[in-house]
């Protein structure tokens, strides 16, 4: 049966509602353009809304993201589609793009949901919570996280047993298992891709023991432990719940590493690691934190001063790559490394290890262009066709890129990149 497509029209399509996509949408909307903001996930805010605090000022990430998210959600010129994907984009003329959008069913009528959480309590199914990066579980009927937007429940149909407990518990009867996928055909005049990045999966480096040793975690998992909307009431190691006091950071996990296919530097890991280290020293005053690094890249405004601050706080910096991590019976980890300064091979015992994983390209949007193809670079990031003259331009005229979709960058750079992309998009709209 042929799906019926609803036809819609907007001045601009922004793909991805993280900080870069959000900022782009706001800039366009504030200048009077109607924007459709499409987000694959159940909430807008991207990765930034899940962070604890941001470097180098240690502002809380939520404090900065939530008002932006709020502004986006209530802006009269922005329409947000969550749990939606752009499945194809075709450029018809200089001022016409046709996009096919699939809006997956949430099985909850968002307008009626009060986020009371009664469905969560009633649901019998427990699965790993992807918003807490697997640290804790969530139910199959759940609210993604406390500062999600829209703040409404979702039914994870793949895990759902269709027992109906949530439906019965819902006081506003907003759970609806008959909701169907919606299909849209969009006519728009310009497209901005802000699809973000993927985190490196450390399972690709077996010698670090991730996935095997419970007390080896990724930086994003540690970020969640520190964040105010954290899964536990304190910082603890997943293996046995002990509060750690000798934490190690392994920098460049999956970056500057040809052996896993990522030779470039991810730009943010040095900074976020020393940020987490400072926050940990605040939360666990007795803890020792050691950062094992190759080079510390603290190049931005205020970054060098932040690095000095971390050193002054007592964070240890050891220059040396980690060769191998092995586990002791009590769950502690032995790190084998070359101490460059002393020119010796050493072993150090830590009770928790954080792998500072890098930013990789997000392949989701790359295949969707039909006709004129979107060019990618050698690492599958979106190619910037005029890197120095117009960093937001892609190989297709009228299609722009914002944020980490084009390469690793931190939050201030993502925001300026979004400013640049929206500027080009506005010029494009005016000129065509």
């Amino acid at each position: 049966m042929e799906e019926k497509r609803k036809k819609i029209e907007y001045d601009a399509l922004v793909v991805g509602a993280g900080i870069a996509g959000g900022e782009t949408a706001l800039n366009l909307a504030n200048n009077g353009y109607k924007v459709l903001l499409v987000e694959r996930d159940h909430s807008i805010g991207g990765k930034m809304i899940l962070l604890s605090k941001v470097f180098p000022t240690l502002d809380c990430a939520a404090c900065i993201t939530t008002p932006k998210v709020s502004e986006i959600a209530r802006h009269p010129n922005i329409t947000v589609f969550t749990e939606s994907e752009v499945t194809s984009i075709v450029k018809k003329t200089e001022s016409l793009f046709i996009a096919q959008i699939t809006k997956n069913p949430r099985f909850v009528h968002v307008e009626d949901c009060t986020a009371c959480q009664l469905c969560e309590q009633a649901c019998p199914v427990n699965v790993r919570d992807e918003y807490q990066f697997g640290l804790v579980g969530r139910k199959a009927a759940y609210i993604p996280f406390s500062i999600a937007n829209p703040k409404a429940a979702v039914i994870d149909l793949e895990q759902c047993t269709l027992c109906g407990a949530c439906e019965r518990a819902c006081p506003t009867h907003c759970i609806d298992f008959t909701m169907e996928t919606d299909y849209f055909e969009l006519q728009t005049k310009t497209v901005v891709l802000a699809t973000g990045f993927r985190l490196f999966d450390p399972l690709k480096i077996p010698r670090f023991g991730y996935g095997k040793y419970k007390n080896v975690v990724t930086s994003m998992q540690m970020e969640r432990e520190i964040a105010p909307t954290r899964p536990y009431h304190t910082i603890l190691r997943p293996g046995d719940g002990k509060i750690p006091d000798r934490i190690a950071y392994v920098l460049c996990a999956g970056s500057r590493d040809d052996s896993v296919g990522n030779p470039i530097c991810s730009q943010v890991c040095c900074m976020y690691s020393m940020k987490q280290a400072q926050l940990l020293m605040g939360a666990l005053p007795m803890a020792d934190i050691t950062i094992y690094y190759i080079d510390i890249r603290s190049f931005g405004k205020g970054f060098e001063e932040f690095y000095q601050q971390a050193k002054d706080m007592g964070v240890s910096f050891v220059k040396g790559k980690i060769g191998k991590i092995s586990e002791k019976e009590n769950g502690n980890l032995m790190l084998r490394y070359e101490d460059i300064q002393e020119g010796k091979l050493k072993e150090a015992e830590h009770d928790m290890v954080v792998l500072s994983v890098g930013m990789l390209s997000n392949p989701s949007v790359n295949q969707i262009f039909e006709g004129e193809m979107l060019q990618l670079d050698a690492l599958n990031f979106i190619q910037q066709s005029d890197l120095l003259g117009s960093p937001a331009k892609t190989s297709i005229d009228g299609v722009f890129v914002a944020g980490t979709a084009s390469g690793p960058m931190d939050i201030p750079d993502s925001i300026l990149s979004a400013g640049s992309a929206s500027s080009e998009a506005i010029s494009y709209l005016i000129q065509h």
């Binding site: 404090c63 709020s70 890249r297 603290s298 405004k301 890197l387 120095l388 003259g389 300026l416 640049s420």
Partner: protein
Amino acid sequence: MKKKLGVYICHCGGNISDYVDVEKVRQAIEHEEGVVLAKTTMFACSDSNQKEMVDDIHQYQLDGVIVASCSPKLHLVTFRNVTETAGLNKYTYVHANIREQASWAHSDDKEGATEKAIRLVKAAISKSSYAEALYPNKFEARKTIAVIGAGIAGMKAALSIAEKNTAVVLIEKENSIGGHVAEWGSLFMSNEKGYELVNRIHNNLLQHENISILTGTEVISSKGNIGNFTLTLQKKSKSIDNTKETMEINVGSVVVATGFDHYIPQEGEFSYLHNRNIISLPDFKKLIDKSTEKTLIYNGKEIHDIAYIYCVGSRQTDGDNKYCSRFCCTSTIHTAIEAKKKFKRIHNFHLHRGIRTYGKQELLYDEALQNGDIFIQFYDDFPPEVSSIGKKTSLKVKDLLSSDKELLLDVDLVVLVTGMVPRMDQSVGQLFKLPKGRDKFYNEIHMKLRPVETVIDGITLAGTCQGPKNISESVNSALSAATKSYSYISKGLVETEPIIAKINADACVWCGECLNACPFEAIEQKEVHGKKIATVNKSVCKGCGMCAPVCLPNAIDLIGYSDKEIFSMIDALAE
């Protein structure tokens, strides 16, 4: 005035509640006069709390709202808009800063921090009882934007504005445009040369009729406000009649894109100027770009062994420049690679403090290593020693990478890798009173929330005048600044805060003191009901308040800072 106030005390996700007992603050103020609603909230700025505030305003019929949270620099506008959404006048909103000025500042004294927070909220409540409905001044905005500085950032900003069908005046002090980039040959991360890039953008600029490019011209004075700045421009060189031509332009907003200066090593710094074989990075780059022979020659000598000493003038341990200049590691490695490509038998020795080829630039570091370049890392406080022996220059350095072995190198040329410093010519910053950051570059309001705006309404920052950046980063910042400046004036109307001086006509005895005190000529003498009194010109008054203390009969108050309001705040704090 009987008020119905709603007070929201924010946890700020722990940033406040970790040190200030927010529940205690709530209890301490919930029975203050006028307070009908007192709540604590995890994130006051979150969407759900904003919605709750709007609902509360309707449900409890509040006529004033106070949020005690982070610095007003972050969310004053956010919360004012919430009250406006709910139908209140946004100037009745009062903010209390209990984060930067309580919880964070006194994280060593939780009791003291809580006490202070209580008083700050009480002071806000007192002020709120006097807060009146105010209406912003609206006036027409000039639909022209001035861009000061025609380097890569200024040029791209001008182009971006012109593409939005807005007139732009691009002002450049030098006789040619293109700034530093125009002087450069090969650029990293690109196959284009610097002057080629500049020419390309220049050609784009020439296609737009609404761009005026004024070279050899400086801005010597500025008057006015956002929406209407009057800039006086002057030609740098004298005309035939021995005067300097001046002209005035009226613009709605200004983009400052004045760029950077290269750090110049001090005499004797690594033997600079004492030894003919010591050269700075920009001079070395010029040498590499311009030399056409197969062998590199400098000062009549063949150059084969080159040493690069990194971080000269940046990341200083003693010295003012504590920051990293961001672009130099990549630029140096790229130039070293170019040197090896162009000339015979070049050997590169990089003496560094940690190579910062961040992002995709890492591939250049890879390439240099493949080329056989030698990398030596020295300690921050143990810089290499430079001495000369005959024609060669000798360097002594302790190499961290080979566990502190002391290495001796004899090279033909030493390149001091110098970074960016703020322009020595600070005239534009002084003209507009642009504040500077700790690194002495111009300061933005907030790196994440407002990265291109300054505290001076209507002035935005583009490029390296805000801090070291490479070309891509400068262009991103320039386009962001251009769009921001454009958004100020694109609707044709500008709103300014209604904080202006108010003169009590009955009390005024016309002594003229206020007129003397006002730096903006906003006070005029008028005759009202037969009495000569002072009046305030609303569209000129900037709300500084300088007239208020000098008025002998105390007839002047600044709106929002009246005696009543200030006294009530002092009373609340002194309690």
